[in-house]
Amino acid sequence: MNLQINQDQINETYELKLTGEVDAYTAPKLKEVMLPLTDKEGNIVIVDLSGIEYMDSTGLGIFVGALKSSKANNSSLKLRGMTERVKRIFEITGLTEVMDIESGVKGEAL
């Protein structure tokens, strides 16, 4: 029950690879890492979610916050590698409409 965040950087492009669970306990850590990146103009922030086993609305809230920050500061935020489960809660809540989500879903077959 934890969240691991690996960060790679090439110039202004940052890639965050997340592994584990995003819930009320781990979300503050994600926010702490992601927000300073989306806050800076020109940054491209790519978040790889293929290692996420669990996410709930607290996690969605962090991504909404990061999206707002990227719009306000002219940076960009992209999500990729969603498993079917994670994709489902983005869909249910309608966030797939507003988020930049790279298709090509990885994850368990149904």
């Binding site: 029950m1 009320a24 669990y54 609305s57 607290t58 962090i62 309608g94 409409e97 507003v98 149904l110």
Partner: protein, 161 residues
């Protein structure tokens, strides 16, 4: 009528640290009952949302953190989970009015919170909320849903644009 065969109760501090523990416990019970993988994942999210709500709202920051109580009734055909806090209750009516997906909203209008109750409502078969003395969220998930057609999800339509 079917009667409850087993009842399990947990009481944990209303802190983010324990949301995962509750989720795993409920997941174990749902697995034991024979729920499918996707249903178990739905239940895990719904329970976490309810407990997270208590952690975030029920007790003020200055006040010492209280407890959240999670009860789980196991029936032959369904699991009934009750999440109770003894903190200050929130205005259920005004919150339910704002439930819904983010369809048609601009990025500025999005809230960072507020999707929790919507998810509970969507992922579970039946949800009841009472706010008389603290907040009580009672949610039910049926086994073999196709056999109990009278309990269809009642999801309020998304607000029109």
């Amino acid at each position: 009528m079917r009667t409850a065969s087993d009842y399990i109760e947990m009481k944990v501090p209303a802190k983010p640290d324990y949301v995962g523990v509750v989720r795993l416990t409920i997941s174990g019970l749902a697995n034991r009952m024979g729920f499918a993988f996707d249903e178990i994942e739905d239940i895990k999210i719904a329970v976490s949302e309810a407990v997270t709500n208590v952690v975030n709202h029920a007790y003020t920051d200055t006040e010492e953190k209280g407890q959240v109580r999670i009860g789980c009734n196991i029936y032959d055909d369904r699991m009934e989970i009750t999440v109770v806090d003894q903190g200050k209750s929130f205005d259920v009516e005004s919150i339910s009015k704002n439930l819904g997906p983010v369809d048609g909203k601009s990025v500025d209008q999005l809230h960072e919170g507020g999707l929790g109750l919507f998810l509970i409502d969507t992922l579970m078969d039946k949800v009841e909320i009472s706010s008389e003395a603290g907040v009580v969220v009672m949610m039910t998930k049926y086994l073999h849903r196709d056999e109990v057609e009278e309990h269809v999800d009642r999801i309020s339509p998304a607000p029109s644009q």
